[in-house]
Symmetry: C5
Subunit: 309 residues, 5 copies
Amino acid sequence: KWGDYLKEENSIIPNDEDILWINVTGLYETNKIKKLCEKFEIDQLTIEDIYHTNQRNKIEIHDNYSFIVLKLINKKEEIYTYEQFSVIYKDNLIITFNETENKNHETIKNQIEENKKKIKEKKSDYLMYAILDKIIDDYFIINNELTEKLEKIDESVNMDPDQQDLIKIKSTKQEVIYFKKNIMTLKETLMFNKDDFFKRLNKENKEYYRDLFDHVYQLYESADILNETLTNLTEIYFSAISYKMNEIMKVLTIISTIFIPLSFLAGLYGMNFKNMPELDWNFGYPLLIIIMLLIVLIMLLIFKKKKWF
Amino acid sequence: KWGDYLKEENSIIPNDEDILWINVTGLYETNKIKKLCEKFEIDQLTIEDIYHTNQRNKIEIHDNYSFIVLKLINKKEEIYTYEQFSVIYKDNLIITFNETENKNHETIKNQIEENKKKIKEKKSDYLMYAILDKIIDDYFIINNELTEKLEKIDESVNMDPDQQDLIKIKSTKQEVIYFKKNIMTLKETLMFNKDDFFKRLNKENKEYYRDLFDHVYQLYESADILNETLTNLTEIYFSAISYKMNEIMKVLTIISTIFIPLSFLAGLYGMNFKNMPELDWNFGYPLLIIIMLLIVLIMLLIFKKKKWF
Amino acid sequence: KWGDYLKEENSIIPNDEDILWINVTGLYETNKIKKLCEKFEIDQLTIEDIYHTNQRNKIEIHDNYSFIVLKLINKKEEIYTYEQFSVIYKDNLIITFNETENKNHETIKNQIEENKKKIKEKKSDYLMYAILDKIIDDYFIINNELTEKLEKIDESVNMDPDQQDLIKIKSTKQEVIYFKKNIMTLKETLMFNKDDFFKRLNKENKEYYRDLFDHVYQLYESADILNETLTNLTEIYFSAISYKMNEIMKVLTIISTIFIPLSFLAGLYGMNFKNMPELDWNFGYPLLIIIMLLIVLIMLLIFKKKKWF
Amino acid sequence: KWGDYLKEENSIIPNDEDILWINVTGLYETNKIKKLCEKFEIDQLTIEDIYHTNQRNKIEIHDNYSFIVLKLINKKEEIYTYEQFSVIYKDNLIITFNETENKNHETIKNQIEENKKKIKEKKSDYLMYAILDKIIDDYFIINNELTEKLEKIDESVNMDPDQQDLIKIKSTKQEVIYFKKNIMTLKETLMFNKDDFFKRLNKENKEYYRDLFDHVYQLYESADILNETLTNLTEIYFSAISYKMNEIMKVLTIISTIFIPLSFLAGLYGMNFKNMPELDWNFGYPLLIIIMLLIVLIMLLIFKKKKWF
Amino acid sequence: KWGDYLKEENSIIPNDEDILWINVTGLYETNKIKKLCEKFEIDQLTIEDIYHTNQRNKIEIHDNYSFIVLKLINKKEEIYTYEQFSVIYKDNLIITFNETENKNHETIKNQIEENKKKIKEKKSDYLMYAILDKIIDDYFIINNELTEKLEKIDESVNMDPDQQDLIKIKSTKQEVIYFKKNIMTLKETLMFNKDDFFKRLNKENKEYYRDLFDHVYQLYESADILNETLTNLTEIYFSAISYKMNEIMKVLTIISTIFIPLSFLAGLYGMNFKNMPELDWNFGYPLLIIIMLLIVLIMLLIFKKKKWF
């Protein structure tokens, strides 16, 4: 059984045999949330945590319920936004709170419909596992998207590094910082509260949560590799720009070094001194051309030796 | 009940039923502070810590009182200054010490006036919670201000990085270093003394402090993100300067590489050799112009191929 | 005894006296893997871990079996690919799962054939040790290959740093990131589960596993040295490029600084003013040549003093 | 009572009621140190530690005495030198060992003279506290000096970064490395031996030592801020140099880009071709001047648009 | 008593009263090593560790003996090579294994000859201490050599940074990486096995080992300072190269900025237009020279203001 409490206004009464899942979408109607929570004897501070949407990821073990706060990641026009998602788990009751409509729930509802009997057997903590697992799966998808983004930037930097790449690197880095931080706090809160949290679970479902925690650890390591790859990429961008500048300097230097002395020679014989015997020689001009060609040749040989091209 | 002890000179006698809050503003009159503290049997070293305003954040659990030292952050003309704030918590007595007038107290006083009954019920440790919570809230405000500062610098660097940005990055970094360090020591002292400190609290208020501690952890992570964002920004600044230099070099190299050879050719036919048959040709001049145009064309094609523009 | 279960389809029945090694190659036929595992009462989540090939390295201690997931490293055309390898260890039964054909097994089979008696004595955990030891040996080989790669790049950078080196540094760094991360998770899981895992082993074989764990620690330190060497190399590449640019700039500056003033002088006497007495002097031209030579000499002395060449 | 044992040769016999402070200056006369220490049953290895002056900071708790090794920081002509200082604390006996004359002792002696009675009451561990506190105070002074140094370099870098700044940054960094390392080992040894050390202290003096330890933690954090400030400063220096190079390149490029094309045009009409109709036009020269001015104008507009000045 | 077992082939029989020291030089004759070790009931894996010379530093506590693996550092033609050294300590028996002749042993033998009685009193673990202490002393010597190397490079970089310095920095960094890693693993294994190892020692010798461990910690900190100094040096090298490039650019820009406009003016009056009235003026030429001198003056003033020289 589930209900979109705030919208449908149907006051569902918990029932000892069934598993009750109440899903609240939209956290602006704080009064209704309060009323709902108070009905199930949820602590005042927990209620505040639910509608103050800047909580860190955490697991709180209260005397009569467990409280989990996570971040959902939504993607809107290539930008990731973080949205608070909280779960209250109390015996056979699960209450979930979303800021906006959560696509995952639809999938889970369908799964429940199909396997009603199996879910019932597995108790409410299996349902919570299913919800949390979907969220973690989303994280893996985003991790892969970020990895692909990096691969695209990498290719672009290798071919021709430009300012667009730099801006992309920067924005991706910012995304990775938030993503990694989010997973890190998640991992830490899991590690810290693991034992207390596991005590509340039904024995047959512990294995599922162990698997879930394992996925979070794996995520953390993937995010770490993402971060190191990005650092590697930034260094490569720097080096590539540096290398390109080097190439530009080489071209400038080769052209300047060849033509500046030649221009000087041409300028020399463009002077208007009365007494310049070379100017009157018949072979003065062809001789100078030959000398200039020799200079060019020697220069080119020197550059070749210096491996400038 | 509260009193600005040092100023109003009214010697308030603690009273078993009420909660007594004494607020001392200005730490220069050490004798009065001493007298006040000795009256409540505060340790000599604690008293010294109160008026030596370079203490680190700390929680000290003494036999008959708890002692907390924090930093308040004030903002004067865009500069953050740190000011020492200490609290002594002893049964139903709270003594707070500020270097200068503290705006937060006014707000708290008003809150107390409005909810006199509720505060009385909740005991003195709830009052202390209210005071500390205000301070932590201020930290969040500063964290947001610093984040906004970084966003402004970021925009400016993207458009056109200049030395002003560098100076702003530097000063913001220094601010972030102090801010983060301050929160770090706060977090560490909380973690270290948490258990001993909680034992002193009334059971019904423990939840508030847990929430407060949670906020400090969250602050620490925000400050960490701030720091990483700043590092990211510094790298971007470097790259942007580097990229701009690259662009300047390209312009120089394109202009030089095109005109230096042309100038050489012009110089060549400016020479005064007697025997230069080209000079006498009727189509010598137009031919040279055509050759020069061809050189320009070829150069431009090469630059195009090298993706220089 | 061993069998390639999925391929040969022979349903081997475990037998209390012998050690049974079932090796499954290819993880696509999930149904057969399921059937095999269920026969030996392997947990559902473990089975999923076996054919979902993106698990992190881990040791899981279940009530009636131990489960180890590792990565095998294969090398195809100079690229390292990671392949999941899992082992189930249950009394006298060892089941191994490979994504593709595993060369190591052949060697191990031969060793077993030769020392049948010795293996039998040493129980199944010795066989597992032999399998794992081969995998760790492969890691050492890859560590050495990566070290040699770095030495080659190092030589190339010292002689003449070019963009090829940069691309090689980048790709090697990416390989080292994955390699190190892999070993790190391996080391961590070993450290974490060491005690529980050792309890299951036969006393006479514990020493072998201690040796194996020691090798993993050693690997981790080697990978760390690899990483630091690479960082060192990247810095050297940057400096070498920087130094080379410096050299190029010096050449440009020397040529420009010498010839630009000379060209100016030549241009000066190429002017067509009516009243330029120097032009009419008999020794005007040779005098200018001498002055120019003096300028060159002085310039060269200045450069010498500045240690530009 | 105190005595400069090695110099004055007076063999002071400890006396149960008084506190005896023996101060040894100069560690070259190892025999006398040995004799003195053996008299008080000091361990052979401790004695060696006293006159081998390259010990790390440490606290050793022996059966019948405590042994502390610290570094004193002396400043000679702007250079900080580290000198070993060791204390043996045994019941009512304090022996201190200095490499050279220690200015702090004089101040402490005067304090003792003035408060003879108070010190006597407070036992020998208060005296040791007074000695150690003076040393830690010196550390704070050096910390402030280093901070001021950095502020001076910072100002200089902002105005005009030159090589002098770089050399100053380098030497200050080296000083900070040693300073921070020294405080770090001090902090670590305090943390590690805190509990054992406190057991030996008289209850009424524990608070003083807690305060002392607090100062060391505070020092460590100050040294850390110092280090981060220095890193910030180094980055700023790099950026400032980079920015300045950028400015230089801009000037070069603006001048070159404007005049190289103009020079080419001038060179073009300096050619001696017979058939150059433009040369014979009456308005050829003024027309060219106008064209040149137009080129300059367009160039300047382009640079303006590129925000080059 | 000691013997060079492998070479002299004398089969020494341990004797309960004396301390027996067997030193094996050269690890190629694995059979003899095996035979020797088996005689003293050394574990098979320990024996393999002895002649596989790529072990990490470790202390192993076995039931009837302790096993220590260290690296000796040899210096051959300015290159440090690491050589495996292992010790087996079993009651009154010490067996040491070296890859090559170990100079330290000679010194220790002489010390033993001189103080036979003292050694005998102090048991076999004092002898082992003497051997290990010599090795750690060698480490300090190498640490000092590396520090001196860095000081030499530092001086050279300050005077005139060139590519030789870069190559020296790189190779020294590689040496420091290995050196520090070696000491780090040594420190870690000591920390980890300290308690178990100390249990085996005779009470009167524990103090010596505590001193030895202290030296290793000190070494680790020295190696860390070495590393940070090197990082500092690398940064200085980069900055120095950067600064030098800046200086070169300045020279180029000053020369170009002064002469390019002058050359343009000269080129302008070198044009052959019929109608150029300036050319016919009597004071045209001196006027131009004056204008040119004014331009140079103004340029120099601008550069002065920009602090370019």
